[in-house]
């Protein structure tokens, strides 16, 4: 059972990590927090479901299409809503509230466009279960882990080995200096929101086939993504992944060995403990403290 | 009898030593100056004395209390007030309210007193207003008491910040470049004002770059360079001290 739980934990951890990555990238480039990631995940799941089941596209094509759409959505979102709020005298807390509003609207929108009942992905693979001795694993869990890992590796390569990625990191460290170097900081910010949305969309497609697609799937996951980001060190890419794994493992083990109703309590408890005792996280990111 | 005694105080930030084994004493009722080139560690020393930083080494004694390592509000409660290089007023509060906040440690009203408006709380608030207006009159700001402090001119804001500092009846006032950005007339008025502050029984330690102000105002000067105390003495002696000249102008001139 432990291995079974562990695989589930790693998959969840991967998702929390991807969300935490998204939060971190946005925070680093624009100093903002968004509460819409969970719902972006949900929309990504619904889109993937739509393309795969309703339009009968091959799974990889559905995945790609969803990612591209979420990417563009994130970019447009930053350029329109976020810019307007900040330009009109809004503070980061206004942005927070606006993203909360968006998340509420998206939930309702999803229910209207699709339905408020749980939708199931049709099986992606020909086999229903992979068997390794006594362990039965749904191949969607494994593919989910693979997709999550692949995303993280691609992101790492992008941020560290491409010109745009390096420009983004520069803009995140010091936007004034970056501007002076000719880096388009404004584009960087849009890009960061775009990447975060894409990551959330991918997360949706990973978890959709495993747990089903429904309107409220993103709410709690979105909050746990924060836990991942904080535990690892808010803003630190690798910290988010580690933090995600920690949250995934704690939650899954708590559900497996204690009780599934306690798992959320324990996850939030660990979250708060970290914020209070070590807000800089495992990788010691700088935070503002009074 | 020294009012404040700084012994061997060192302040390190990682690999950088901002204050290097500084020892100095200030006598009560003196007006002392703290000078040195930019980056010499003057503001850092202020921050250590005021409790914003805990010194890496050394001790600070103020009137028989050991104050190094205390929180800034505790240092203030013991009788040390400060101003800032960049004006740090409470910008959305009125001029009068800024002074009233400055007097916080001398008041005693708590939640119960405030909510129930007990007679002692009302008396305290009334005395507070009177005293605060009195302080404003000293610098001619009394007619702007109801003005939001961010609307004041630069010179007025500087004066207000000093007033806020003396509102708590401190024994020692740390002034960080109070003359910055002032014209000659304003500087003369400032010097007069600081002398008046001393007449109230407040000891003053001033960081200043304007040598005329330092020479005209202070009775004893400490000179920092690269965090070390390189000279101290009467203003006239400091002016001709070769170490001091070297610090400001580079190698022997």
């Amino acid at each position: 059972m432990f291995i079974q739980l562990l695989i589930g934990a790693i998959m969840l951890g991967g998702i929390y990590g991807l969300l935490g990555l998204g939060y971190g990238i946005i925070y680093k480039t624009s100093g903002l927090l968004t509460f819409a990631q969970g719902e972006v995940l949900m929309i990504g799941a619904f889109l993937g479901y739509t393309f795969f089941k309703l339009f009968h596209m091959p799974f990889l094509v559905a995945l790609l299409a969803t990612v591209v759409i979420m990417f563009v959505f994130g970019f447009i979102f930053e350029k329109t809503i976020i810019r307007t709020i900040l330009g009109g005298g809004g503070t980061p807390i206004h942005v927070v509230l606006a993203t909360i509003g968006i998340s509420i609207a998206l939930q309702n929108l999803a229910a209207l466009i699709w339905t408020s009942e749980i939708q199931q992905f049709p099986p992606i693979f020909k086999v229903e279960y992979l068997e390794f001795g006594p362990i039965k694993v749904a191949p969607e869990s494994i593919s989910g882990i693979v997709v999550a890992l692949a995303s993280m590796v691609l992101l790492h390569l992008f941020m560290n080995y491409t010109k745009i990625g390096t420009a983004m990191r520069a803009a995140a460290q010091d936007s004034n200096a970056a501007n002076v170097c000719g880096i388009n900081v404004s584009f960087s910010k849009g890009l960061s929101w775009a990447i975060s949305s894409a990551l959330a969309g991918i997360s949706g497609i990973i978890i959709g086939p495993v747990y089903g697609v429904y309107m409220l799937m993103g709410a709690l996951i979105g909050l746990k993504g924060f836990a991942a980001a904080v535990i690892g060190g808010y803003g630190n890419m690798y910290g988010a992944i580690l933090g995600g794994m920690i949250v995934g493992v704690i939650e899954t083990m708590a559900a497996g060995y204690l009780s599934s109703s306690y798992k959320d309590f324990i996850a939030f408890f660990v979250f708060i403990v970290f914020l209070v005792i070590k807000p800089t996280g495992i990788f010691n990111e700088k935070i503002i403290e009074s | 009898m020294s009012l404040i005694s700084v012994k061997n105080v060192t302040m390190k930030f990682g690999g950088l030593t901002a204050v290097d084994h500084v020892t100095l004493q200030i006598k009560a009722h003196d007006i002392c100056g703290l000078i040195g080139p930019n980056g010499a560690g003057k503001t850092t020393l202020f921050n250590v004395i005021a409790g914003y930083y805990k010194p890496s080494e050394g001790t600070i004694h103020f009137q028989d209390h050991r104050i190094d390592g205390l929180h800034p509000y505790q240092v203030n409660n013991l009788g040390i007030a400060r101003t800032y290089q960049n004006i740090n007023l409470f910008r959305s509060m009125t001029v009068l309210e800024n002074i009233m906040v400055g007097r916080h440690p001398r008041l005693s009203a708590g939640i119960a007193g405030s909510v129930f408006r007990t007679p002692s709380q009302r008396k305290e608030e009334q005395e507070l207003r009177d005293k605060s207006m009195e302080i404003l009159r000293m610098v001619g700001l009394q007619h702007k008491a109801g003005e939001t402090s961010r609307n004041l001119s630069y010179g007025e804001q500087r004066r207000l910040e000093i007033c806020r500092g003396i509102a708590s009846d401190p024994k020692l006032l740390l002034l960080d470049e109070p003359a910055a950005g002032m014209n000659t007339k304003e500087k003369l008025e400032l010097v007069e004002f600081i002398r008046k502050i001393r007449d109230f029984g407040i000891t003053v330690l001033v960081v200043e770059h304007d040598m005329k102000v330092v020479m005209g105002l202070t009775e004893y000067v400490f000179v920092l360079n690269f965090g070390k105390l390189i000279a101290e003495g009467q203003p006239a002696d400091i002016q001709t001290n070769p170490e001091v000249i070297k610090a400001y102008l580079g190698e022997d001139v």
């Binding site: 403290e289 009074s290 | 009203a109």
Partner: protein, 320 residues
């Protein structure tokens, strides 16, 4: 002279609100909205003290709301104590809870404080769900009694006067706090925490006091809610509720006297108004929040002030 003017205006308003039920012809639905608005106003005052005055963001006020509600509900239903005592206990417990919680978290600021308050809110929500013997978990607490004076038992109509009295009391207490040494300390901490510290203000102490005061108001509001509706369950004490409080305070205008009042009334009214939209209501609500944040970042109080200023300009021009 100005002080008497304020007293007279306040008295006039109070009289209007006292007489309102008679004017409205005891329309039960409107009375519901008025009472709910009043309860919301008290909670909003709590958040305004915390966020508008001491500058500490909280998206977890539902936790204090819940402590007040459940404390009073459980004490009155399980132990049969008087509703007045129950409400008082609710307020006290919420205050103590907030003080304990605030101590370790108040050193955080801005986004991190927002996150930890969300965590506290969620934790409280989970605690309610996971303590079925105490709270009844999802089943909730039912048959929460109405308060009584002597032989008279209040009903959903006359409850309005209790709410009104407490709203007036809350506004009075808030003004007194704001206009005192405590309030000045709060504002100083909000404006410039380091300078406040240097002015002799024990920042940690006052931050905790701010949380505690905030919870007093919010806890009493929760207790009022419990006894008004007669039934509470974990669903009413989620992040959504905390968001409602924040929206009310931001949209009304923070750090002002009327801001929280306007915000609370507007949010309550809108909450009721969108019910007619059926399955579209949350969509409209979400869009409303975004629009409000974009067009009224200073809150409606800012709009009122702007209208005042423009009116003054017009009047001056006409007078010339």
């Amino acid at each position: 002279m100005a002080r008497y003017k304020n007293w007279l205006i306040s008295l006039a308003f109070i009289l209007v609100f006292v007489g309102l039920p008679a004017l409205l012809g005891s329309n039960a639905y409107l009375m519901l909205i008025l009472s709910l608005s009043g309860i919301f106003v008290i909670a909003s005052i709590g958040l305004d003290l915390l966020f508008g005055y001491s500058g500490q963001i909280s998206i977890g006020q539902a936790a204090f709301y819940a402590v007040g509600a459940y404390t009073s509900a459980i004490l009155t239903t399980k132990l049969g104590i008087s509703v007045w005592l129950g409400m008082l206990a609710g307020g006290v417990l919420a205050t103590v809870f907030a003080a304990l919680v605030a101590l370790p978290i108040c050193k955080l600021v801005h986004m991190f404080l927002a996150l930890v308050t969300i965590g506290i809110g969620e934790l409280t929500h989970q605690a309610i769900i996971n303590l079925p013997d105490l709270t009844g978990s999802f089943t909730g607490v039912r048959a929460i009694p109405m308060p009584r004076i002597g032989g008279y038992v209040f009903n959903v109509s006359s409850y309005y006067y209790i709410v009104l009295a407490l709203v007036v009391l809350s506004l009075l207490v808030k003004q007194r706090i704001v206009d005192s040494r405590i309030g000045r300390a709060f504002i100083a901490i909000r404006e410039n925490t380091d300078a406040a510290n240097a002015m002799g203000i024990n920042v940690t102490y006052y931050k905790v006091v701010a949380f505690a005061c905030s919870a007093s108001f919010t806890g009493i509001a929760g207790a009022l809610y419990a006894h008004y509706i007669g039934f509470i369950s974990p669903e009413s004490f989620t992040l959504d509720q905390s968001v409602l409080f924040l929206t009310a305070v931001l949209c009304g205008g923070m750090g002002t006297f009327v801001g929280p009042i306007i915000g609370a009334v507007v949010i309550t009214v809108i909450n009721e108004a969108i019910q007619v939209l059926g399955s579209y209501q949350m969509l409209v609500y979400g869009i409303f929040i975004v629009v409000a944040v974009i067009y009224v970042p200073e809150g409606l109080v800012g709009v009122v002030k702007m209208i005042q200023r423009n009116l003054l300009k017009v009047v001056n021009r006409v007078a010339d």
